[in-house]
Amino acid sequence: MSEQIEQFQDALLSSNPEKAEALLKEGISNLSILECIETVVMPALDNIGTGWEAGEHALSQVYMSGRICEDLLDKHLPSEDELRSNKPRMAIALLNDYHSLGKKIIYSALRAAGYNLLDYGRLEAEELVHKAEEDQLELVLISVLMYSSALKVADVVKGLKKCCPAILIAVGGAPFRLDQSLWQDVGADYVGTNSADAFKIVRSYRGAEQDD
């Protein structure tokens, strides 16, 4: 790991936004903001996400790191900035239950990585299908905490595949982490357990699109 990534990562893990900003500014003085995101911010968030998966970091650190990066990038690369990526057209939603931490973590991480995405908040299956169709989404990210909510993803998949056959559906949350074949049972296209997975999913979508 480069020294720059390591320092930035340490600032995030110790929840130190001032130090993280100083390091980002230092980076921007040598590189473009997009290069900085690509070579420092994303690798650091990636490491923290996979580190959580491996038991090295805590969920609160994943959340606080994403929040710090989101705030920093909102400041240095605002939503309307043309450098931000609007592809794929995507949204994130909390399905059925009221535990929004996972959604917020992924939302912040993707925003910090320079992507624009819609935040649908908390929805029932039918509402989610309706909104995704209306917004002509290409990718929908669904977060849940409760097992009964995870099972409702099947209704979303059924509804979406009918009205928007090309749409891709990614799921995440504790039930999918603890029951590893559940994502296939409910018919999702992807499963992710951390922000690193979310980056991969979004990148693979873009890769597939470029191949086409």
Binding site: A58, S60, S148, D179
Partner: protein, 346 residues
């Protein structure tokens, strides 16, 4: 079923004393399945203590597990604070929108009066009646959500993390209220006849909060709260990792720990030896897709890993068996415990 040498109470207490009982005790935290026995919706089932009492008795007679569960659902405590509970047809009741919408209003929160909260009174009635029915032969378990973990439902997780990290003074103000409530609520259950309490503290796990922050917050709270509870506790981290904080948990005064399915029982047993009894760790979420053979294999694996020498109670990994787990699967667990769990186990 052949007559066993010990009562459930003797079996559980012997295991908790790190000695070998006649067989491995089995704890099936079946909170919702009683509604299926009675042909009621989950919402209706929890509307009256009589239903839950009947449900618990029928389930215990059917599967022969070693404890009654006096616990209804997690958000009961949120209901006490004036929050919303959402019922679904195929899972545990869930907390709704966080009841504290803004951290600015946090100083207005007060300790609920247990006598004025219908769901808490129903829980106490359930514990009291089950305890009378058990007549000392079957333990009755209560649950108290730790003051440190309750705010996830009071505030929502994100606001609560902001509070822990950035507004420590306000955090301690909330903890004062929550600690008072947890002690009152735990002791009310013990006074009603609960044999022991599960101290439900998912945030104590390093999966959720770094150990250094836990030690300056939730650990101090657990130490104080558990010391004021008039009965034994088992700390449950709801599937989170336990190993890195075993010695910390021991120092809180708790007597047992709930193990998640991601850690090897052999390693846990080594770390807990003689200090904490282990309760766990069948993967509750995967359980509904396990065949009878798979269930037998999983039960045997758990028993082989943690039962020798006592100090082990077979249970699920999360503290609540999902609705989707079937009658046949629960019967298979019960049969497997009787098949592989008779001491001596080498």
């Amino acid at each position: 079923m052949t007559k066993e040498k010990m009562t459930s109470m003797q079996r559980v207490l012997t295991a908790l004393e790190h000695r070998e009982p006649d067989r491995v005790p089995m704890l099936l935290p079946l909170t919702m399945h009683g509604s299926r026995e009675l042909g009621l919706s989950i919402r209706d089932y929890f509307s009256r203590a009589e239903y839950v009492i009947e449900g618990q008795i029928r389930l215990q007679e059917k599967y022969g597990h070693d404890a009654y569960t006096g616990f209804f659902y997690g958000p009961a405590e949120i209901e006490a604070f004036g929050g919303e509970v959402i019922f679904v047809d195929d899972g545990p009741p869930n907390s709704g929108e966080p009841l504290i919408k803004s951290l600015d209003t946090l100083d207005r929160i007060t300790v609920p009066e247990i006598s004025k909260v219908p769901v808490l009174q129903n829980i106490l009635k359930t514990i009291r009646t089950l305890n009378e029915k058990a007549d000392g032969d079957i333990p009755v378990l209560g649950v108290v959500i730790s003051p440190f973990s309750l705010p996830v439902m009071q505030l929502g997780f994100e606001s609560y993390l902001e509070l822990i990290y950035n507004k420590r003074e306000l955090f301690w103000r909330l903890m004062q209220v929550n600690e008072t409530f947890a002690v009152q609520w735990g002791n009310a259950q013990l006074a009603a006849g609960a044999t022991a309490l599960a101290y439900f503290d998912p945030l104590a796990s390093p999966t959720v909060i770094p150990r250094n922050i836990y030690l300056e917050t939730g650990w101090l709270i657990a130490k104080r709260t558990i010391a004021k509870l008039n009965g034994p506790t088992a700390t449950h981290l709801a599937s989170g990792r336990v190993l890195p904080v075993i010695d910390d948990l021991v120092k809180t005064g708790t007597g047992a720990v709930g193990a998640g399915s991601s850690e090897a029982l052999v390693e846990l047993k080594q770390a807990c030896q003689g200090k904490l009894a282990i309760i766990g760790n069948l993967n509750g979420l995967e359980m509904h897709r396990w065949s009878k053979e798979e269930l037998f294999h999983r039960v045997k694996e758990a028993i082989d890993g943690a039962a020798p020498g006592g100090g082990f109670i077979l249970s699920d990994s999360h503290g609540e068996i999902p609705w989707q787990v079937t009658d046949e699967q629960l019967r298979a667990i019960s049969e497997a415990v009787r098949e592989y769990g008779t001491y001596p186990i080498s």
